[in-house]
Subunit: 161 residues, 4 copies
């Protein structure tokens, strides 16, 4: 068993730029996060993009799909913005790869107090090793099939469609 | 699907007592941690003990087993000290319950910088919903069967026996 | 000796709104921060505003000045956004009150990793008790007179004019 | 104006050793803390010791005094354990140096949630630049003269004798 983590940006990886005074993207937090998690499973981190998911274009989703196809690992975790996570899940789900692919993200950036980022990454890394091949969204402590989930933006939680 | 989390103490839940100047146990951090994780799955927290796992006696392990037996949920996560986690896993594993039971913990307390606690809890909550019935230890981003795992205390990681 | 802390918002007190996905203002962090600092000096917290300092109007600065005038304490700390901190310092400095008034803030919000907020608040609370009457800006571990300081926005530090 | 910070260990600088499972000393946190504080004042950090203050011997206090005497800076902050902070303050106070010397520390280690360390360091760095020559203890948001302070160990606060 080995694991690939694909970073695409999203709230999880946002960084406060103190000169600009706003949240943007800089270097991914994921190398630090993976070290902190003390993972001993062989794990590869790949930075595919560093984007707010509202800014993701078709070409970006194609890049994520290509990274999944090219991965030699059968267990893949994708860190993604929550706003269009289900759109990207559709693109990958329709490709019917013989892999277990989990999309997750965070409601609060990793570097901000009370963030769910570390919990969600742990959750995703666990089920990536345990579920049958398929594409899933892991948020709010729940496992959703890629074709049966949406974000309730008013409440900030993922629910079944 | 619903989830039960059993707290037993361990490094995960240690608290710095500023009057005594040392790490002890006070109120469990788990209510805060569960809120932070934004879990929408029906989840029950049960405080079974608040102990350093080196201080766990047979009676304590029997209490943990009893809590597993009495739980109405089929998915159970046990927060446990790492030093005797595999002993408790044996007691529960031998009971052959028709449930998926995951033991996890932390190398660094939840309230200390760089803690793995939140990652491990997420990992455990995920696989508790995904694995077949059985008893497992989840540490270091890996899933171990209860009868094939030990802690390497020199390196501070869990490995197969 | 007693101390008054006036909150006006600023980067120090910004909060991540997970539904809107951006930094805004909610309840001030200062009650928690003051408790954390374990201050035993009699200390009053007063919320004058909860604003980005770029949005501060003359009327807001008049409110801050009025709060300084009405305070029964001779030692006052004002938490303020960095972008117009020196403007507000001018308004108060020109009033020539017989009090020691320290303006401070933060380059990174209190609730974000690597924040300077707690250091700056401590610094300001110290010199508010030690300096002669006057109006000062405390940032970057330095004490600036109100009429001889500006923010270098390119580098994100305060310097003498 | 320039500043010297002398590290001696104490609760402020304790580190959780995840292999031993207890709080000990490793590399000082102070280089990170000083960077985080964004201090632009010329500042020298000197590691004099890395000790629990209950383990401090006369020779250790002599080393701290010698570091104060040899410092070219007239403003000195000493990070010290709280339990014998006033003893060390006596040794330095009796030397009647023509410098402003502030002892401070923390009730909760810097790396543990809810720590007062950063506030206390800021407080000390401020008054080191503002008070007349002398030796002071800065804890609980208060300034104490070296010969008129003791720690109330039951309540965990510093008070006048």
């Amino acid at each position: 068993m080995s694991l690939r983590i694909l970073a695409t940006g999203g709230t999880f990886d946002k960084h406060y730029d103190e000169i600009a005074g706003k949240l943007t993207f800089a270097k991914s937090h994921l190398p630090d996060v993976i070290a902190r998690a003390r993972i001993t499973l062989p794990t590869q981190l790949e930075i595919v993009a560093m984007l707010d998911s509202l800014d993701m274009q078709d070409a970006d989703r194609s890049n994520v799909l290509a990274a999944c196809q090219q991965a030699t690992e059968a267990a893949i975790v994708i860190i993604h913005g929550t706003d269009t996570m289900s759109e990207t899940a559709h693109v990958i789900g329709n490709a019917k790869l013989a892999k277990t692919i989990i999309l997750t993200g965070a409601m609060i950036p990793y570097e901000i107090a009370n963030s769910d980022a570390l919990f969600n990454l742990g959750f995703a890394c666990g089920i990536a090793q345990a579920l049958p091949h398929g594409v899933y969204i892991a948020m709010n402590g729940q496992i959703f099939n890629w074709d049966n989930v949406k974000k309730n933006r008013t409440q900030g939680v993922f629910i079944q469609k």
